[in-house]
Symmetry: D2
Subunit: 261 residues, 4 copies
Amino acid sequence: MKELKDTQNERDDRQLPIDRVGVKGLRFPIEVRDKGGSVQRTVAMAALAVDLPEHYKGTHMSRFVEALNSHGGCLDVRSMAALPRELLAKLDASRAHVEFQFPFFRSKAAPVTGKPGMMDYEVRFEVEAERDGPLDFIVTVMVPVATLCPCSKEISDRGAHNQRGVVTYSVRFREPVWIEELIDLVERSASCELYSLLKRPDEKAVTERAYDNPVFVEDLVRNVASRSEAHEEIVWYRVEAENFESIHNHNAYAVIEKKLG
Amino acid sequence: MKELKDTQNERDDRQLPIDRVGVKGLRFPIEVRDKGGSVQRTVAMAALAVDLPEHYKGTHMSRFVEALNSHGGCLDVRSMAALPRELLAKLDASRAHVEFQFPFFRSKAAPVTGKPGMMDYEVRFEVEAERDGPLDFIVTVMVPVATLCPCSKEISDRGAHNQRGVVTYSVRFREPVWIEELIDLVERSASCELYSLLKRPDEKAVTERAYDNPVFVEDLVRNVASRSEAHEEIVWYRVEAENFESIHNHNAYAVIEKKLG
Amino acid sequence: MKELKDTQNERDDRQLPIDRVGVKGLRFPIEVRDKGGSVQRTVAMAALAVDLPEHYKGTHMSRFVEALNSHGGCLDVRSMAALPRELLAKLDASRAHVEFQFPFFRSKAAPVTGKPGMMDYEVRFEVEAERDGPLDFIVTVMVPVATLCPCSKEISDRGAHNQRGVVTYSVRFREPVWIEELIDLVERSASCELYSLLKRPDEKAVTERAYDNPVFVEDLVRNVASRSEAHEEIVWYRVEAENFESIHNHNAYAVIEKKLG
Amino acid sequence: MKELKDTQNERDDRQLPIDRVGVKGLRFPIEVRDKGGSVQRTVAMAALAVDLPEHYKGTHMSRFVEALNSHGGCLDVRSMAALPRELLAKLDASRAHVEFQFPFFRSKAAPVTGKPGMMDYEVRFEVEAERDGPLDFIVTVMVPVATLCPCSKEISDRGAHNQRGVVTYSVRFREPVWIEELIDLVERSASCELYSLLKRPDEKAVTERAYDNPVFVEDLVRNVASRSEAHEEIVWYRVEAENFESIHNHNAYAVIEKKLG
């Protein structure tokens, strides 16, 4: 049998450091603590990477997967946040980056009848560590909402076009902020929030609420931006809204990104 | 050098004929003649397959690609329809199936100002041939439309939720039907058709038209079904509508499939 | 305030029954019992539908979501299987259909070092009920595998092209079969199974195992078919394999579907 | 009839300029001139946006679509590059950004038999203009390739795992570079390039070529980086490679981004 040579450890002379090398598209069970105190089990799509100095031929891909699996069969937020530092050590790197994106659920009561239904959102954690530096942590929520067009309402004798849109809202923060708080902030910024379960009195209520609160895609991102600037813990935000226009086969979108303070 | 043995031609003794074997995910330029008489060049995603009798170990995958490329760098409808018979001969098969899905464009005038804008649709051709049998040809159009909820309009003091939906409409026919005719049939069945370009007077018109023509997803498929049954050339149809509800994060859908005559 | 009229309950005179009407794209937490006896929590994408007789204008969409939410915040296999009968009653339908697709995890030991890593698969349940008829239950597993080309191995002086493929394997059964058993059956049918964690001695082992077990996409579906036919509980199967060819930018695929006994 | 008020033109007092607002997901026919001199017609997915000063409530979405349609039913590279400046004028903006992503085809001869087959690639143009500033133009090619693992080859007695990967390679340049030149540069950096049509002698050749040229994902990005640094016209590049590992259900990836000179 050949000796199992460590090809990755060979020297590379091309003088080209690599910004990021690692694994992508790895699914893993995780658990996330709710604002309500209970623990939600869900499934994340993960990516893990480090930088690679110019003199190494390759990184050791299996160590990323070992790090992921070293916490048992399920990761929680604390272990996700700790992963980049573990990678720095395990892979002798100077920068490490991890990403976890997963569906997150809230039970939401219908606005009039109060009937409960599970609403789903996408959430993403991105954590980056540098040797001897502080952690960089970005939380992103993707929140589906309803938007009703102010122009259409203004110019039409009856009705107004409205549609589903999705707001992708990312923040950096001083002290951790609950996912639920970020979702609430976005939902309050739209024409109306969405529900999975609506009976007729609820449908009447959300139809009228949307009609009474028209927002352009521009208003939507500005509403989220205003609330972000008023928030004590948020030090940076990026908000993108995309409306799946009901009168077109294309989408309207708008973006604001800003560092605060 | 080894002789290049034809492994595929070896005998298989498992007594398992294969229903369909071939290639998928192949992109190829095509051209489609408009109802208006001009030729539209676009790009299709193709799949080509044949059946395989039990005694052959494998098919010859490269022959599918050769057949596709044997018509020059671009296929037209006539060559797409002829492909299954060529595959029967080239691969000594008893059944052959090809699929081509591609974006199709129409210049559409805005309803009031008449300003032109290109609207895009997805179209799919499926052609199947059996040795000594007739060709089976299915044309599918995927048409984005606006739907406005009759219940929401009825129960609400103002407004009505509406959204983009997509209708996937497939037909078999006696004599060929224009893609444009199928698209028109679907667009007339919705609350309002979509446009890529709308100025303010147009937006007013489509908002009011949708408000005046509320349809449930059930109405939408029944409207398409009724028109199909009244159409002289259509001998089979399948219509599926899916509405990207503006009040939910899930979709409503309905399906009718029927053989006529 | 207007009375909240039940528009859906109105009479429709178009004489067009609807084959299937319902909701799609609804995510919901579920739990699945492992063969090992522990319970795995994961997230499903759900679709629920019923048929609609010709004289009703519409179905009641909110009842699907109520049915889904009526089992608490998480569904297990028993409640998924019971859903179609509940829909028959709640919606006065004669046919009901539900689908749940979700990631499923297994901890798998690397073949030489025995190091554990979580492998993910997609699983789908489809359950259909007819009034006074038996339940129809289809289980589908989507299993990623490695395939090494027999022809490339045979004709080349060194090496052989290989790639990731995915096998989509559906069964109907007499007595329930474990998801793990279906996955094992597929993994044994490929050139080599996949692992999330492989150290160097493991990588050597899987490389050589794949090289020693070349399979065409045709062999792969036939291997799965043979094992299905030998299985006591399986009464129907459909197997489709798709190889993401490493020498092409398109995929090879093959399908066998068969009713047994 | 109400006067059709221009709601978008109203004043906004939230003091929040918007970085980018516009349309997304718009498909449009385009034509691209080949290195060989002939014109290739294909279909792009487009996005167009401008910035919006804080005192405007909204942009005029229809003007983006008018700009797109103002060049007739098909755009060429010259008109795509001119669009941002037109948007600056039409929308009174200070920054404008357009993106077009489309499939691009080359007829490629098989390496031994010389048989021709169409290979498809994805290409993206991003053009940004600032009032009184120079144009910023980024060309991206997404090139599918084969990669064979050096470690697997080194440690295994026979065979080596290999797979399809995709390289996403973006450049800024002094003088325009042909799309074909960028594709060639990437294809030469992999274990082997891909072909749509390969007969047995060709398959033998590419299998052996890949086996003789093993590259890690790290080697692949470094090979592209080296060639970029040696290229006279390239002033910035970003190269990302992602390998769809044939031994795992996840992908390996690596990225280098660099400004030159």
